[in-house]
Amino acid sequence: MRKSFFLLFLLLTVLIIMVSCKKELALPPEVEEFNQSFENVNTIFDIVSQINTLNNTTQNISEAEAQAENAQ
């Protein structure tokens, strides 16, 4: 009985130490938000670069339009 109580106490102590260590390691929420915002800004730029390729398409259209005008 005493032995099991001691083991339970030991286990709880270890758990408390682990939780407090983890708390120390955790970043402040503002830094977490900043990190997330960094991910977002990079993703947005990747997406925007895909959308930017539409500008090449408009260039092709304008060239075709000019050629059609010349031919008319």
């Binding site: 977002n40 800004v41 925007v48 895909q50 539409l54 398409t57 075709a64 339009e65 059609a68």
Partner: protein, 236 residues
């Protein structure tokens, strides 16, 4: 006397070389102008049937290019929507704005596709081409505005993170603040460029949009991220 003869022959050779060259130039000019005259004559005397064939060919090429442009637009819509589906942590308003742009473009492309199928002549195609260019430029422009808005959010988050790191563990944030200042001025520069674009013609807009290179601003963002990462690691 000998010297005089040498100079005389040398001059003679030079004159003959230049006259041969001048003759060749003149001949090529004459043949060019003759060819142009001939071409004009041929164009004027082209039978209607041949002219119609040329117009049909031009129409066909123009039609194909417009069809391809609409397909390209649809392809981009699918790819970007798929990329947005994966972004569960991105602010909802940013996702909604991008999806809104894509939805508008999607509806527009469907309408233009219908108009393209009903087009009867080159003038109809020109109208479609013009509408496509204007709408696509609008979408590219709006996407660039959204990207810069997101950089502004990033700057605010960086500001708060630096303040917390300074107050909670006394981190020296001087260097990071300098970097933040550089990023802010870069953002101003880009925002001014976008403001200018609104006053441009279709052709000028095309060049400006193509020159929008976010690489510089991305480099500054990465540098700031490294600075803050180093500070937060030393704080832990």
């Amino acid at each position: 006397m000998n010297k005089f003869l040498k100079i005389f022959f040398l001059t003679l050779i030079l004159i003959s070389v230049f006259s041969v060259q001048a003759n060749a130039d003149l001949k090529s000019k004459i043949s060019n102008s003759q060819a142009q005259e001939k071409l004009q004559q041929i164009q004027q005397n082209l039978p209607d049937e041949v002219e119609n064939q040329i117009s049909a060919k031009v129409y066909q090429i123009f039609y194909t290019i417009l069809g391809k442009a609409i397909n390209k637009g649809n392809e981009i819509i699918v790819n970007v929507n798929q990329a947005l589906d994966l972004q569960i942590k991105m602010p909802q308003d940013i996702v909604d704005q991008l999806r809104g742009e894509l939805d508008d473009l999607d509806k527009f492309l469907q309408d233009e596709d219908t108009k393209l199928k009903q087009a009867k002549n080159i003038d109809d195609l020109k109208d479609i081409a013009n509408a496509l260019v204007v709408e696509m430029q609008k979408v590219v422009f709006d996407a660039q505005v959204i990207a810069l808005k997101n950089v502004d959010i990033f700057i605010n988050k960086a500001d708060s993170a630096l303040l917390v790191l300074q107050t909670t563990c006394g981190a020296d944030i001087t260097q990071a603040q300098i970097q933040l200042g550089i990023l802010k001025s870069k953002l101003d520069e880009y925002e001014n460029q976008l403001e200018d674009q609104q006053k441009l013609s279709k052709e000028e807009m095309q060049i400006k949009l193509a020159n929008f290179d976010p690489q510089e601003i991305r480099t500054e963002i990465n540098t700031l991220k490294t600075e803050i990462e180093t500070l937060s690691t030393s704080c832990q």
